[in-house]
Symmetry: C2
Subunit: 458 residues, 2 copies
């Protein structure tokens, strides 16, 4: 019997997260005046214990016991050897995925939702507001809040809210409240609805609403939570890669190629960062964050200072960005439609430690269906982007006749995205190409902001 | 850190199934003439290797290597200690569930779909036809067929087909074909549509269509597959209980109470039968199959000979039955709406080895929501029936001040049943009570058939 799942015991769950800020120099976030902001400026938005984590440069940070206790519901997550997928591709490559679809909401998102809920609770917060695109993050945070007895309010991008009514029921099952964004509940929402009453919404808009909902609660008992992009989110996700390393150790294997889909960057970072550390220490690894061609933040947009949200409530972050006003084409990988990219991931691109790739929507679904029919689990649309890149690398390995070890993050299952598969099967999905003008226009947005100095590559 | 998941290694997957036919005497299936049928009579419907398994009285049957290889995609399945659920119920009971929701389609069904596809393939079959109610079985068989390169055709009860369009896409993702039943593709379907053009359909009707589709293929390359009720299905599901026993061994614990929801009986049987063996050997265990009050096959219907399908294509099986014409109220636990009950499960009821229970729809959803908010995973509607019984037993343990060990099968997750949760939250679900006349009428159906002799209890 071939060993398909490399399974760790409960004792093997990592006890510390890896903080990449210990190993790279970052450009600081800037305030509206163009000057670096102090951590205190974020206090109305996030609890101070998370802000401290956001700016910490300690390399290893302990995972609190109550967080481990909840993570244990689905962790350690399996590392899967994809024998049947390899066979279908007729490749000499050994393909592994780290399956993050085993969590209760079905994605990697709870890896950070749980610690974020915990730290908010510890700080005395009672209510958390957030945004969600396809619904994965809102579901994950609702789940996490239910574990720590917090109230959760989710602003969900309208187009997804309408397309996926079941996501709302899912959040409700965990006690969360979900409203379509833009909504009439915030000034940011009302302003946008006045200008564009029929807008499908965007993550940028929903973030604005969620931040406003948090900072405008004068009781001080509400904070905002973000499911990607920020340093502490990347930190929490490193449990993926740290577990994967233990699993590769178990089978005496080490990856040559690391792949993850990247919307805000957290799923990719979760797997990749612990391996980036090895690369900085001399290991020869190719590391690929993958994005859809329809939202080419890393592969076509510039590295600049930009806001994380449309209403410009967030500080200016140093990142690859299509512009905070960017509204992406309606591709069916909601989690990969964000205009920006985590500053840490962006920084690693600048330093040449990782190399972004882009894939088409149809290639992604084809890879996803091949995965379902060989390995069984139906992948989330976001995950199919990573799988499309795995296919490319596996075929390249075949061409080169090399027995490479490829590992990808399997960010989630697609059981809540079957409508998109339905469209794919009925031929309604197309490859969305983004005209150059869109990105040029994006560039213009940044002209008012200071461009960061490009750091020396290491 | 409390140990929430009792995890086995891949090596611990059981290598044999437990066959309860070695330990109980059964009434034989009868042909239309009222005489016992020979195994050969089933040859047009099932492949001979599965028929041999259906009538085997060997106690332990080897699981073929290629079957183990596929089962390993999600097995061994976790045994979960429900600390948070216990705490919410303030009970001294220790509550465990065997989580079968971790399979690719999200339920226990692939435990038998995979070996059935394997044996069909071995026998030279190319196409399998089947029926599905809520969609779990059709999805599971589509998945299994994709693993062995077989074509799969699924007749789905119309009301579910209309309510759950995504189930069709799910089957399609695995290459399966799904049509609404009754359909115009079979005589059984056409006859019923002529009489009742607006019928919501039923499992009984869909079974008739699927059998007809198999036996009417004159090439001999098509067979029918049933997801519950039959002996070989129960056999394949015993991997659940056999694994659970290993897990209880690991933690030096043994259950006092065993609970499983029962539609056709296979999920219940899967967990319970290996423990029934212990009970026959003197262990003191309470074993409860649980059904909805709206479809009270075990708790209110008689033990008789009846057909497994509406068009009476199947042999007469000795079982608890509400009558093969029974169309159950539209409760939202599609897998528990079958008119009959596995002959083996029925026999154990007659012998007093297990004790059926029934629960209401609203109590079930309440238990399900409590589970989601404490243990994280959103349970399938069917699973909530088992959880409602767990709640009753946990509260009884509290009343009695006893530290009982309760274990239940968690037949599946509810991520494909969120519409039902949505209705529950919006107050649209009610408790469906079945009038006595319905069951009386049911009784009359059997008057033409020989009643089985009641066996002596052991």
């Amino acid at each position: 019997m071939k060993l398909r799942n490399i399974i760790l015991s409960a004792d093997d769950i990592p006890r510390q997260w890896y903080n990449i800020l210990a190993d790279i120099k970052m450009n600081p976030p800037l305030g509206p005046d163009g000057n670096p902001i102090s951590p205190d400026a974020l206090a109305p938005v996030f609890p101070m214990n998370l802000i401290e984590q956001e700016v910490s440069d300690k390399r290893w940070i302990d995972i609190p016991e109550p967080v481990l206790d909840v993570l244990q519901i689905w962790r350690p997550a399996p590392l899967v050897r994809a024998y049947s997928f390899e066979k279908a591709l007729d490749t000499p490559a050994k393909i592994y995925v780290k399956n993050e679809g085993v969590s209760p909401p079905g994605s990697h998102k709870p890896n950070t939702a749980v610690p974020q809920a915990y730290y908010n609770k510890e700080f005395g917060i009672q209510n958390i507001s957030t945004e969600t695109g396809a619904g994965q993050w809102g579901s994950a945070l609702s789940f996490a809040c239910s574990q720590f007895g917090l109230n959760c309010k989710v602003f969900m991008v309208r187009v997804s809210f309408d397309q996926k009514p079941y996501r709302k029921a899912m959040m409700q099952a965990w006690g969360g409240e979900c409203v379509a964004s833009p909504s009439m509940e915030t000034k940011a929402g009302r302003d946008i609805l006045e200008k564009m009453p029929d807008t499908p919404g965007s993550l940028g808009i929903a973030i604005s609403e969620a931040i406003e909902a948090a900072v405008s609660d004068t009781s001080g008992k509400t904070r905002y939570s973000l499911g990607s992009v920020l340093n502490h989110v990347m930190l929490h996700q490193t449990i993926i890669g740290l577990e994967a390393k233990k699993q590769f150790n178990m089978i005496n294997e080490y990856p040559d190629v690391i792949i993850g889909c990247a919307g805000g960057g957290s799923n990719f970072a979760g797997l990749a960062f612990p391996f980036v550390l090895d690369k900085m220490n001399g290991k020869d690894i190719a590391i690929y964050p993958v994005e859809p061609k329809a939202c080419p933040t890393m592969t076509r947009a510039p590295f600049v200072y930009d806001h994380g949200d449309t209403a410009r409530y967030t500080p200016l972050l140093p990142m690859h960005s299509l512009g905070h006003n960017f509204i992406p084409p309606p591709i069916h990988a909601g989690g990969l439609r964000y205009h920006g990219m985590a500053p840490t991931v962006s920084q690693l691109i600048v330093e040449g430690l990782i190399t972004p790739r882009s894939v088409s929507q149809l290639d992604s679904y084809r890879a996803g269906v091949l995965w379902a029919r060989t390995e069984g689990v139906i992948p989330a649309p976001e995950t199919t982007n990573a799988l499309a890149c795995v296919v490319e690398e596996a075929l390249k390995a075949k061409e080169e006749g090399k027995e490479k070890v490829i590992v990808a993050t399997f960010s989630g299952h697609g059981l809540l995205d079957l409508a998109a598969y339905d469209k794919f099967f009925s031929g309604e999905l197309t490859d969305v190409s983004l005209p150059d003008e869109t990105i040029e226009e994006g560039k213009n947005i940044f002209k008012d902001y200071p461009k960061p100095q490009r750091l020396q590559s290491r």
